[in-house]
């Protein structure tokens, strides 16, 4: 079986803030299946990179190709429509919406025009069924009717995942999905991610090294804005340059 075409390619991405190169000639290829993790010490430029990939920050130079298409200049909402689904580091669910409506909104984005003014959206079985399925995928279907603002922290993280899944994504861009989760919640989320990785391409930015090494198929290490290594978890663990970059960090 031939290797499927990569889903995401970064080519020579650069971003400077003032005199500081925060993203310095980053090139990266993400395969169409499995988890590709991006790690790096604090200040390595992970968040800036995520912003550029998702479209909330424009790079100064370089190209971003997604599913064979140049998306460098597309805004966030256009990239989402193409199947680039992003979860947020600081939970950004809609607190006033129920869990179901949070997901149904995402379903709606891929289900025809939203310039429909009369029929109640909450009564559209098509949207609700798909939304419930996405909630079930992350094990949250029993909380569908609860206002998102009233969910526990871990449940909000699950909801973030369900929203991303509801976009029928070709790539999940997960920005620290485990941030702030307790040990039990982390366990549950890792279980979900493990199930998802057989069906989706995932670009995972995460601080929890144990989780990353347990989940990732490939790992890229970012240091001072540059990719200093890319490879399998074993190869990364053994890489001397990576060890040097992390010297003094807790791991």
């Amino acid at each position: 079986m031939a290797e499927p075409a990569p889903i995401l390619q970064l080519e020579g991405l650069r971003k400077r803030f003032g005199g500081l190169a925060v993203t310095d000639d980053v090139s990266l290829t993400v395969a169409a299946r499995g988890i590709h993790a991006v790690i790096g010490p604090n200040g390595a430029g992970k968040t800036t990179l995520i912003h550029q990939i998702s479209g909330t920050l424009a790079p100064d130079a370089g190209r971003i190709r997604f599913a064979g298409r140049d998306i460098t200049t597309l805004p966030l909402h256009r990239r989402a429509r193409l199947g680039l689904a992003r979860s947020f580091q600081i939970t950004a669910v809609l607190p006033g919406f129920s869990a179901l409506e949070n997901v149904a909104l995402a379903v709606q984005s891929g289900a025809g025009s939203s310039f429909r003014f009369c029929r109640p959206a909450a009564a559209e079985a098509r949207l609700n069924t798909a939304a419930l399925a996405a909630l079930a995928e992350v094990g949250l279907e029993h909380r569908a009717a609860v206002a998102a603002g009233a969910l526990s922290h871990g449940e909000k993280r699950q909801l973030e995942l369900a929203i991303a899944l509801a976009l029928q994504p070709r790539l999940l861009l997960l920005d620290e999905p485990l941030a702030g989760a307790g040990p039990e919640e982390t366990e549950r989320l890792i279980g979900i991610l493990r199930r998802l990785k057989s069906a989706y391409a995932i670009l995972l930015v995460e601080h929890d090294m144990q989780a990353v090494f347990a989940l990732a198929d490939r790992i890229s290490v970012l240091s001072l804005g540059r990719v200093i290594a890319t490879g399998t978890p074993e190869a990364i663990r053994a890489d001397p340059e990576v060890r040097a970059a992390y010297l003094g960090e807790e791991e």
Binding site: S114, A121, E124
Partner: protein
């Protein structure tokens, strides 16, 4: 049960308005006052769609109302009084004004949006004041009320009362339906978190612009009714103080639901009327009342029972 409670307040208000002419509010000046309250209530509903629905605080809403009223004036001066032409023109003119100014204003958010809508409102005001053909500063007295199928039945106070009531109820229903629709869902999402809405594929701009245009159309219809109610139109219809009044109505009633705007409009018109009977300088009282309402009445009148309950329970 929940649905029943949500419907109870608007049904009560609309019911009282329907019964008003027969329970002691049938005199001419009372009907005039109620018509004014209902018409401003319609405009406030449109504004609620923006503030409560889309999270866009507009301080230029009176201009949209004024454009609708001046559309009636322009038609009147040209000898056209048929409602089938006048009403769509008023709605269309105000919606167009909203679309054009909104296209610029909605590129911004927050305090920029407040200032820009205020500025465009002022532009409308000065433009109206400079239209010497239509009376300029002094305003324009209509030849008569709008006709329907050639008949002058809007001259009848009771008929006009029920026309206003019917349109008000229709506007309320339309606003509720709109917010519950797919479109409304996106709009509410952009209010709660525009970044989230964009991350699932919705660019807030076109949704906000359409909402602004719809609110403009509603205001245009209200403006046409207001012109008919007073049979006189002046630039003061577009004054920014009236935009402030409309915004206050929306807040006073409570931002949580469209009936809040309805309640706020009625309460404000009645309080204003009552105070102005007490003293010529009623604004001396009304200004501080407004400040106190903003500082202490956080959920609006609609939220007042809950607020009192909380206080009692400690």
């Amino acid at each position: 049960m929940e649905r029943l409670r949500a419907a109870a307040l608007p049904l009560l208000i609309l019911g009282l308005l329907a019964a008003a002419p027969f329970i002691g509010f049938g005199a001419g000046h009372e009907l005039t006052l109620l018509a004014r309250a209902m018409i401003l209530g319609m405009a406030a509903l449109g504004l609620w769609l923006l503030v409560g629905g889309a999270g866009l605080v507009s301080l230029g809403h009176a201009a949209l109302l004024g454009v609708g009223a001046y559309a009636v004036v322009v038609m009147d001066a040209a000898g056209i009084t048929e409602a089938a032409i006048v009403a769509p023109s008023a709605i269309g003119a105000a919606a167009l004004f909203a679309l054009l100014t909104g296209a610029v204003a909605i590129r911004t958010t927050g305090v920029h949006f407040i200032m820009i809508t205020l500025a465009f409102g002022q532009m409308g005001f000065f433009t109206a004041a400079s239209l010497a053909v239509y009376g300029g500063d002094d305003g324009y007295t209509l030849y008569g009320r709008t006709t329907l199928g050639g008949a002058r039945w809007l001259e009848d106070r009771l008929a006009f009362h029920y026309l206003c009531l019917g349109l008000l109820a229709a506007t309320l229903l339309a606003c509720r339906a709109l917010l519950a629709s797919r479109f409304g869902r996106v709009l509410r999402a952009t209010r709660e978190n525009p970044l989230r809405a964009a991350a699932v594929g919705f660019n807030p701009y076109p949704y906000r612009l359409v909402a602004y245009t719809i609110a403009g159309g509603i205001a245009g219809l209200a403006g046409a009714l207001l012109a008919n109610a007073t049979e006189f139109v002046a630039p003061s219809f577009l004054a920014w103080q009236r935009s402030g009044d409309l915004l206050f109505m929306v807040i006073l009633g409570g931002l949580g639901s469209p009936q809040g705007a309805l309640l706020g409009a009625l309460a404000m018109v009645l309080v204003e009327e009552w105070l102005s009977h007490l003293t010529e300088h009623w604004r001396l009282v009304f200004g501080p009342l407004l400040i106190l309402a903003v500082l202490f009445l956080r959920g609006g009148l609609e939220g007042l029972p809950a607020q009192l309950r909380r206080r009692r329970d400690g």
